[in-house]
Subunit: 165 residues, 2 copies
């Protein structure tokens, strides 16, 4: 079937999904954050088909999320997260925290992410105001910038819904 | 092809991906945050096939992310985000901010998310320490909880990689 192309949408979320929204990609990235570097590590950790893993890694290299090193003596390359890749961490942790809360393991916490230096857990991923206050979902709104001066279709929808109330 | 089931993985990220990792689902949720409520609104905004939209909405209702209202006089139901659904906001905004930064529109900013009360932009989604400091990716680590007392496979990988250095 023919999909509408996410990368043609003038939306930052769709642009991101075009890259990390493919099945397995975020789990490959998770393993990279946990230190996996080699094809064989990703493959063993995930139990993913080799052709799919090959395609996912190639895409992430193309997008500058992984840097592929020169082949080592064993004929294998390493995949290392670039700064662009490391910048995906809030996405992964937001998903992890949501899963912790709403898809908990009955036996308790799976993993806690802590600051190395202090050993204290990081704060739950949340929306923070300029002044540092945690904001509830309804406390924020979207404002169009220059690249959306035509007004955003979804914002119109939102206004329509609000006016109807 | 047979996929490994994400919902059987003892990982909060995989659990979340099992629900929101399907193609289109996060764009459906985006539109819901922007005020879309009706099947026809999602359909028109996204240009998504009706059968796919039907399946995605049904799953999100099953998972308690949308609440489906009783049919109105026109024979249509509304889909409203529950608190569990609203709690997905940090995921969507983390993806949006990453796209803003790394997949920018050359004409400038698409949308800015601001606090309604002050009009000030929210802070970039990031990892925050207990003391309120923004943490870099390498400043955190994972610690196993009771549901992972067997040690996490990826953590082993990480240690192996680190010891090799």
């Amino acid at each position: 079937m023919k999909y509408k192309k996410f990368d043609e949408m003038n939306c930052s979320l769709a642009q991101t999904l075009d890259i990390v929204g493919e099945r397995w990609t975020l789990l490959v990235l998770r393993d990279a954050f946990f230190g996996a570097r080699k094809f064989s590590q990703f493959q063993a950790n995930l139990g993913i088909a080799r052709n799919i893993l090959t395609a996912r890694l190639a895409r992430l290299v193309d997008e500058g999320i992984f840097e592929k090193t020169a082949l080592n003596q064993g004929g294998h390359a390493d995949y290392r997260l670039t700064n662009k890749g490391l910048a995906l961490q809030p996405i992964l942790l937001s998903m992890t925290h949501w899963g912790d809360e709403f898809k908990a393991n009955p036996q308790g916490i799976r993993l806690t992410f802590v600051e190395r230096e202090t050993g204290l857990p990081i704060r739950p991923m949340s929306v923070i105001s300029q002044e540092g206050r945690t904001l509830l979902p309804r406390e924020i709104k979207a404002v169009s910038g220059p690249a959306r001066s035509d007004r955003h279709k979804e914002i119109k929808t939102s206004e329509k819904v609000r006016n109807k109330k």
